[in-house]
């Protein structure tokens, strides 16, 4: 049989400071990026506002579109030319008392360019109140999902493990959010969907490793926790990598060929899958080990389980 990463014998646990350093650096970069950007850049889903993509043939300059938006009563619109000729993305903030911003802007562009055809390709318009509600619901959903997972892992495993698993989970989701911020992408509904999926997926691999730690822990009762964990991580390394690799392949296909609409979604997933795998192998188990060692030190004389 053809196989990779079998019979690996790395002393992961003794060098766990590497994991901590790498993770610490990534989290730090994410924090710095979030601070520099003044927090996550929320899309219209959460801030309220209007995103209007139009196709004008023959193409007109961004200034013509900007002027039309101004005339329609939306001064300060953000105009972005897209790859295809004549396609323009118009973004305006929430305006009180305007009930149909997309229609008003499109009509003004039409009026200003009588000879051109103006197609509305996409509209996403969210009133400020609905935006607030969506943001509240998103935050609730993320915390609810994390809570569910924490409870499930706590029931199925020792709580010392679940601590490590959940910290690893936060780590993955946070780094993915940092990557979104670093690449100046917007946090939209689909990006939140990606973050939630990462949460579910990241714990997936961690569980595989923890299952093995538990299994080996029973068989190798005499061994030190460190040794047991090394054995477990090494033994599960190939399957952790392979299972993640298949997911990575499909997410990569989505990222490269899935189109602009889900581009941010697949980007977030991609980052999440890579860090989720790394953290399952290294961060979660290292944290579990340190929690265990800390508890042993603080309760001298009590033999470990």
């Amino acid at each position: 049989m053809f196989q990779v990463l079998v019979g690996v014998n790395v002393d992961w646990m003794r060098r766990r400071h590497i994991a901590y350093t790498v993770s610490g650096a990534c989290v730090l970069i994410a924090i710095i990026s979030l601070i520099m950007h003044g927090g996550p850049r929320y899309g219209v889903d959460f801030t309220g506002g209007t995103l209007l993509e139009i196709g004008v043939t023959p193409a007109v300059s961004a200034d013509v579109v900007r002027k039309a938006a101004d005339d329609a009563g939306f001064a300060g619109a953000e105009i972005q030319k897209l790859d295809r000729p004549g396609q323009v993305l118009i973004r305006v903030g929430p305006r009180a008392g305007k009930s149909n911003p997309s229609g008003a802007i499109a009509a003004q562009v039409r009026a200003a360019n009588p000879g051109a055809t103006v197609d509305v390709i996409r509209v996403e318009s969210v009133g400020p109140r609905v935006g607030n509600e969506l943001r509240g619901a998103a935050v609730k959903a993320v915390f609810l999902a994390l809570l569910f997972i924490l409870i499930y892992v706590a029931i199925r495993y020792d709580w010392r493990y679940s601590m490590g698993a959940v910290v690893a989970l936060f780590h993955d989701v946070f780094i993915a959010l940092g990557a979104v911020s670093l690449t100046n992408r917007e946090v939209t509904l689909t990006v939140v969907a990606a973050l939630l999926t990462i949460a579910g997926f990241s714990i997936n691999d961690t569980i595989v490793v923890f299952d093995r730690i538990r299994e080996r822990g029973k068989a190798l009762r005499r061994e030190k926790a460190e040794t047991v964990m090394n054995i477990a991580v090494n033994e599960t390394l190939s399957r952790t990598i392979i299972t993640s690799f298949t997911v990575f392949l499909t997410v990569m296909a989505l990222y490269l060929f899935g189109g602009e609409v889900i581009h941010d979604f697949s980007f977030t997933m991609l980052v999440g899958v890579v860090f989720g795998t790394y953290s399952s192998v290294y961060v979660a188990s290292a944290l579990a080990l340190d929690t265990q060692l800390y508890l042993e030190r603080s309760k001298p004389g009590r033999p470990k389980k």
Partner: protein
């Protein structure tokens, strides 16, 4: 040779596969139609049939559409509108029924607009969610849905009554502009009569205002009305057309009774017509017939009337529709709009499927390359998984959205997880010099628990997403959840069955894994 329970499993699987194929058959039929024919099926409305043969044919089309997996608005193009009914000006009893009434009226309007399969749902206490699939004129649809369409018939006040109102307005502004006291009666006309001095007195009850003064009159009326010390029994209205006042364009102004004599609910039917205004032939307008009660109130035996003005043909058409379907009980505001044009929808489908196909191909190549024959078993399980997922979607009338496609693609990546776990476990057992049979046995039993744990956590986050997500995002959560649940059956159950069938038949000493 199969054991009895294995036979059962086998038959059960075959039945399940047949059921999937049966459920998916209409979907297959529908999407292999030519684009033109598919559009026809999409638009089929049996209620619009004129003869029996047509009705049978259209019903068949509608049924096919019903049974095929529907594409979300983001894939076929369409409009998603969330409306909020503004109940702030309604009494408690009116407010109670306002949303249901508004929904009914909007449904009437949308039906007359001719959209196949519109969806109109109540959301929460004061919101209405409208989904209009397919090609449509977005602005016209928005105008049609959002118009309050308040039609009121008010009596024009007599000349004396009008004069009395104008005098009151004059006095009010004369005092106001003169620092609170009445100005000297010898003052200029414009000081004494700030309002009427801007009117050209007409012959009848109406006065005429030069177009350049229309704005000033409007703002004076607004200020007068806003002053709470005056309660008005009347209101003013402008004529829809300009008139000629000695070579200058002007508008007629009317004083109307405040309470309407009759409302739009007395309109029995309305049509757009082009022949209503003799002065402007071909100008679009709306003619309407009144109910018998309305006719009596109108003191008119014919019970007919017409509305003319500066309408485009489309506006007149819309006006006729909203008059027929009635006025909304309260104004509605669009609080969320998501529109996808048909071209973007088509791009999204093409890209989504290409990404899915490439992703699936890569996974298949990897699995077969790495696990050989066992990889093929995993791929068979994967195909059954996706088939089951699509069949569930068709069976539950779920909608396929672009994030939904992403969910399926992700399922393809995650579904082989379970088999990878099993296969790696079997390889380990083989390395530990176990026999093939016992390696398979241990591999499956040991890995199963891990598989369940891993899937349950992803399922938990998908459930949280389903609860919070709206529209397309919910589509993602649904496909991912169904995919994961079926995965636990196919990846373990079906692949184990194949292994068992193969390994029990002969004394195997090696396995391609």
């Amino acid at each position: 040779m199969m054991t009895r329970s294995d036979q059962w499993k086998f038959y059960l699987t075959v039945i399940a596969v047949l059921a999937c194929i049966f459920t998916l058959w209409p979907t297959f039929q529908f999407y292999s139609l030519t684009p033109a024919r598919r559009q026809e099926v999409l638009q089929a409305r049996p209620s619009a049939a004129t003869n029996e043969a047509d009705r049978v044919r259209l019903e068949k089309d509608a049924k096919l559409r019903e049974k095929a997996i529907k594409l979300g608005l983001d894939l076929q193009g369409g409009m998603y509108l969330l409306l909020e009914v503004d109940k702030s000006k309604l009494g408690p009893t009116e407010a109670k029924n306002a949303v249901d009434q508004a929904m009914q009226i909007i449904r009437n309007r949308v039906d007359q607009f001719g959209v196949a399969e519109p969806s109109i749902q109540k959301q929460g206490d004061d919101r209405i969610l409208i989904q209009l699939p397919g090609l449509l004129d977005q602005e016209r649809a928005k105008g049609l849905i959002g118009q309050t369409a308040l039609l009121e018939f008010k009596l024009v006040k007599t000349e004396e009554e009008s004069r009395a109102l104008y005098d009151r307005i004059d006095q009010y502004f004369a005092r106001k502009l003169h620092g609170g006291t009445a100005p000297d009666s010898a003052a200029a006309d414009s000081v004494l009569h700030p309002f009427t001095s801007r009117l050209l007195s007409g012959q009848r009850a109406e006065a005429v205002v030069l177009n350049e003064n229309v704005g000033a009159i409007d703002s004076m009326m607004a200020a007068f009305r806003a002053d709470s010390t005056f309660t008005l029994e009347s209101s003013i209205a402008w004529d829809a057309h300009d008139t000629d006042a000695q070579g200058r364009t002007a508008r007629a102004i009317y004083v109307l009774s405040k309470e309407p004599l009759m409302k739009g609910s007395e309109v029995a039917s309305a049509q757009m017509r082009l022949d209503l205004d003799q002065a402007r032939p071909g100008a679009p307008g709306v003619s309407f017939n009144l109910t018998s009660r309305g006719g009596a109130l109108f003191a008119d035996i014919t019970g007919q009337g017409s509305i003319t003005g500066s309408f485009t043909e489309e506006e007149a058409q819309n006006l006729a529709i909203v008059l027929r379907s009635g006025a909304l009980p309260a104004p509605v505001n669009i609080v969320e709009e998501r529109t996808v044009g048909p071209s973007l929808g088509q791009d999204s489908i093409a890209q989504g499927f290409r990404a899915g196909a490439i992703g699936a191909l890569l996974v298949v190549i990897f699995m077969v390359g790495y696990y050989r024959v066992s990889g093929i078993v995993a791929v068979v399980a994967l195909i059954l998984n996706i088939m089951g997922l699509l069949a569930c979607m068709a069976g539950f009338h779920a909608t396929l959205t672009l994030p939904g496609i992403a969910g399926i693609v992700l399922t393809i990546g995650m579904a082989v997880d379970a088999n990878v776990l099993v296969f790696e476990r079997i390889r380990e057992e083989l390395r530990n010099k176990k026999t093939v049979l016992s390696a398979i046995e241990t591999g499956y039993s040991r890995a199963y628990r891990t598989i369940v744990d891993a899937n349950v956590t992803t399922l938990l986050s998908a459930l949280a997403l389903m609860w919070f997500g709206s529209g397309p995002v919910r589509g993602f959560a649904i496909t991912l959840s169904i995919g994961l649940i079926i995965n636990m059956i196919t990846a373990v159950g079906v692949s184990k069955m194949i292994f068992d069938a193969w390994s029990l038949r002969r004394k195997v000493s090696s396995i391609s894994i």
